[in-house]
């Protein structure tokens, strides 16, 4: 099988495996016994054509090209009889064949899924009706809860009275606090100044977790001159 007279219709292939499957199907060769030299040649021809058309050849295609060339050379190498006995049954193409079979399996499943979705499309459905959100009133609250909440606020605003009450401060609330404080402070702030509610250890922990989350979300950046020095927060907007 020579590439002479073989014209490649320049199709965009999703990846090297898609291209290889195409070549195997086009040449009608047995996937378990791929004529590696011919297929490699056609594969490389395709990459060359892509380059001629100034198409970006993704690195995955080049990696596969190298793999094909390696398999080809291993198949050409004359192997000593002894070695051959040891390696009996190990075909240099085996790994590639397994990958192709796995890929082909999912390709076939995807075609079946496509058929299913087309069948399903014939059952036309309707958009859900919009209903206003319903908030049932909170239950189990009493005046005491309200007084406690107010007292907690009052205490947090007078540090000398600060009675440590176990308070739940969520990380989400704290993230909100930090962003608001940063906005009110021209975008920069010391971490210590984010402890504004109770000054409790649990608030400190919530604030620290909130800080980490905000960094992860790339909403803020931090800096610290040296270990244990104050942490400065900066809004990243």
């Amino acid at each position: 099988m020579s590439s002479a007279g073989y014209t490649i219709k320049l199709e965009a292939f999703e990846g090297p495996l898609a291209l290889l499957m195409h070549l195997i199907e086009k040449n009608q060769v047995d996937i378990y016994n791929i004529p590696i030299a011919a297929i490699t040649e056609q594969y490389l021809d395709y990459l060359t054509t892509m380059e001629q058309f100034n198409m970006d050849v993704a690195s995955e295609f080049l990696v596969m090209a190298a793999t094909l060339l390696q398999i080809k050379s291993r198949m050409l190498l004359p192997r000593p009889v002894v070695l051959e006995e040891i390696e009996e049954g190990i075909d240099p193409r085996q790994e590639l064949v397994e990958r192709l079979l796995e890929y082909r399996k999912f390709k076939e499943i995807s075609l079946m899924l496509n058929t299913l979705s087309q069948e399903r499309e014939h059952f036309v459905t309707r958009f859900p009706q919009e209903f206003a959100k319903q908030f049932p009133l909170p239950e189990g609250l009493c005046l005491d809860d309200l007084l406690k909440a107010f007292a907690a606020l009052w205490e947090s605003s007078i540090p000398e009275f600060a009675v440590i009450t176990p308070e739940q401060i969520s990380v989400k609330d704290k993230m909100y606090d930090i962003i608001t404080l940063l906005r009110n402070n021209n975008g920069s702030l010391d971490f210590s100044r984010t402890i504004i509610r109770t000054g409790s250890r649990s608030e400190f922990i919530a604030a620290f977790l909130a800080l980490l989350e905000l960094i992860r979300l790339k909403q803020i950046v931090i800096s610290q001159d040296k270990p244990f020095a104050p942490i400065s927060l900066m809004l990243k907007e």
């Binding site: 959100k133 319903q134 049932p136 909440a149």
Partner: protein, 176 residues
């Protein structure tokens, strides 16, 4: 009725459209006369009156629309998402400020809590625990908030008079 299958087609069209469909549009798609559409739809409406059916066809905006029977609204509305009814610490704190200092502006709430209150005020409004009570005669005429009847119900209060005054809440000695 010899055109029974056209009723099925009309039902499917009205269902898929969602919007009211003009009789001309239905007639065009089914390649029948406008008058014929009217007759078929009248026939459908009478058979949909059966209690075994939950839908009906209404004439709206010059067209026909498939919808649930009004009688069934109490059942259908049960599909609405029921939201979580717990209050966060932030919501409870804010509610406490509104309760004891009403009428109060967002700015006043923020100056006590030290943080932005937009989101928590929106939540409390959504949940009908606070309401707008007009505007303060100050720069920017900020909105004033106060508590609702639902708030009283929720905390088991008969009226706002049941709330202690702020003065009585303030600690008189460091022992509180």
């Amino acid at each position: 009725m010899f055109n029974r299958h056209l009723c099925g087609a009309i039902e499917a069209l009205l269902f898929a459209s969602g919007q009211p469909l003009l009789p001309e549009r239905i007639a065009g798609i089914l390649d029948i006369h406008n008058d014929h559409v009217q007759t078929l739809i009248n026939d459908m409406i009478s058979s949909m009156a059966d209690e075994k059916r939950g839908l009906t066809i209404v004439e709206v905006a010059g067209g026909y629309q498939l919808c649930t029977k009004p009688l069934l609204f109490p059942i259908v509305s049960k599909l609405a998402d029921i939201q979580d009814n717990r209050l966060s610490t932030a919501a409870l704190e804010t509610l406490a400020i509104v309760a004891f200092k009403q009428p109060v502006t967002r700015q006043e709430i923020e100056s006590i809590r030290g943080v932005n209150a937009d989101r928590v005020i929106a939540t409390l409004l959504d949940r009908l625990l606070i309401k707008e009570m007009g505007r303060k005669e100050a720069v920017g005429r900020p909105i004033l908030y106060g508590t609702t009847n639902e708030f009283l119900q929720c905390f088991g209060l008969k009226s706002l008079d049941d709330l202690p005054t702020i003065a009585s809440l303030l600690p008189t000695s460091p022992a509180g």
